[in-house]
């Protein structure tokens, strides 16, 4: 993993940003098109993905409660629909995790790194101006 560039130190106890960092960070939100785009991408993926896996997962427990007959239907041999549906949850989790990490690596990481470096440069400039 790449190391972040060195930064000014901040509050030991809470780990909050220093005043300069906070000012730079706050100014950039809502103005910087890269930050707007980053938030938009994040929002558009994270909430639909969460809705998807929650609905898929909860349908297992709902069906187990409402339709034990359907869940107990043997599809082949002793393998019931319920057991195969439960196994499909594992597959679903693996696929969603894989899709998420692909998405984050291509759609989020480059933008986030760009933005972070831009903000750091901005801070250094602000500091020089104020000194």
């Amino acid at each position: 993993m790449a190391n972040y560039p060195r930064e000014p130190s901040r509050s030991m106890t809470t780990g909050r940003l220093t005043r300069e960092e906070a000012v730079t960070a706050t100014e950039v939100v809502g103005k910087d098109p890269e930050m707007v785009e980053l938030e938009r991408r994040h929002r558009r993926f994270v909430w639909p993905a969460t809705a998807f896996f929650l609905v898929y997962y909860m349908s297992l427990n709902v069906l187990a409660g409402t339709s034990p007959g359907l869940m107990g239907t043997k599809l082949f041999g002793q393998f019931t629909f319920g057991y195969l549906f439960a196994l499909s949850q594992f597959l679903m989790a693996f696929v969603v995790a894989w899709v998420y990490s692909r998405w984050a690596a291509t759609r989020i990481d480059p933008l986030a790194t760009d933005l972070r470096e831009k903000l750091l440069r901005q801070q250094i400039k602000d500091k020089e101006v104020s000194e």
Binding site: M1, A2, N3, Y4, R10, S11, M12, T13, T14, G15, R16, L17, T18, R19, E21, A25, T26, V29, M35, L38, E39, V46, A49, T50, F53, Y57, M58, L60, N61, V62, A64, G65, T66, P68, G69, M71, G72, K74, G77, Q78, F79, T80, G82, Y83, A86, Q89, F90, M92, A93, F94, V96, A97, Y100, S101, A104, A105, A112, R116, L119, L120
Partner: protein
Amino acid sequence: MSHQTLSLSLFVLFVILTLGITIWASRQTKTAADFYSAGRRITGWQNGVAISGDYMSAASFLGIAGLISLFGYDGFLYSVGWLVAYLTVLILVAELLRNSGKYTMADVLAYRMRQRPVRSAAALSTVGVSIVYLIAQMVGAGALVKLLLGLEGDAAAILAIAGVGVLMIVYVTFGGMIGTTWVQIVKAVLLMAGTLLLSFLVLAKFGFSMNKMFADAATASGKGDAFLAPGLRFTSTIELVSLGLALVLGTAGLPHILIRFYTVPTAQAARKSVIWAIGIIGGFYILTTFLGFGAAALVGHEAITKADKAGNMAGPLLAQVIGGGEGSFGGDLFLAFIAAVAFATILAVVAGLTITASSSFAHDFYANVMRRGQERDEQAEVRVARITALVIGAIAIVLASFARGQNVAFLVGLAFAVAASANLPTILFSLYWKRFTTSGAVTGILVGLFGSLLLVVIGPNVMGPKGLIFKGSEPLFPLENPGIVSIPLGFAAAWLGTMLSREPASEEMFEELRVRSLTGLGAEQAEAAPAAPARSSATRPSG
């Protein structure tokens, strides 16, 4: 050699091994960042293995195998829920949390809030969730030691719980986070190896036919085809939904899992560690099929409930049968091995839980509330954390002696409900809701925490004919797992507390938090490998 002697020898060997790791690690623990966060030098895959070690507790190994062996299909629902829960962690929480916090869960919750009230509430809920979780681990450990030493009776069970509890607390107070991380890594490898071996041998018994295993398990259970369908443990849809919500939302509110993300250097490493954890944990939970159905078919209902009425000993008994049965050398050897693995499992989880709860108390309550974050004294903070570990351990031992006889997976399910109710609403609102306020955070945590605990106490497992108190009357709350009521309650309280207050400072800082959590600007850095000397100058929080 009798199986008592053999298992004891293996036990002692393991205890010495892990103590060695802990002592070695305690020499590496120099700064507070070392004690709490292993200096943020743990890599993504190491942390993934450690998360798995933290997560696959007595509930997963002993509890789920027991539930499946007694109730068939319904037990497997725990396996599914506990895996899918990692998607909540991965997608909504892990990376943003890594970028925003430093040592504890409260770092994120209190980021844009007034420090003292939020940190106090968060420390309380961290300790609360951890104690409920610890109770389950000690119940499992007690049952295990009782089986291994062939003890009979209630007094012996309580003694077993107390003895194991004391031993475990000792590890944590010496090892800190580096020691804990390594105990977890060693344990995860042991657990996976033991489970794979056991599953393979079970499958071999059935001529590598899962079909035959299912058929034999259904016949041996006496329930027939009903054993392969839902309904033997859970008959109410509401109970199932309640459990499902608690399991899938609880993980993202478990402080001992969340603080593991502070041990890695970057958000990308945090992501990678969840992916590793999902792979390892998912593989393990699929194998619980073999432990559970294998025990049902080969050990049988009667022998399982005779050893522990909640089924917690199904896995170790299965090992004994696979090895050649009671009294045979192979049986005793394999029982001792699996019991040692289970012991390691519990030890690692207890270590993770205790260090989390004590860190939160020392860092959030002692350093930030009692000392108001001034003139930070790292030595004192670590000392407070160690004392807290002893106190929390003692409380858990006492409560566990009342909870013995309950299934461990069920008990941990309660801890998940408490975590999802008390912590998750505040975590999500802090990270995603601009309008969120200190009042909202505090009411959300307190109502979620005490609401869920109260519903457990007035529910069927504590109150009424099947419970511990008021055996003559009906429980006031009908559900075993309170999730479906207490989780929405936690969210509603956090929302209401917010709407009844205004906090412009929190709204302003939200933007700072967004930039920091999404880009990693200003996130905590890894410390250089030979621990950097503790920085002495401390500034007061600027809020």
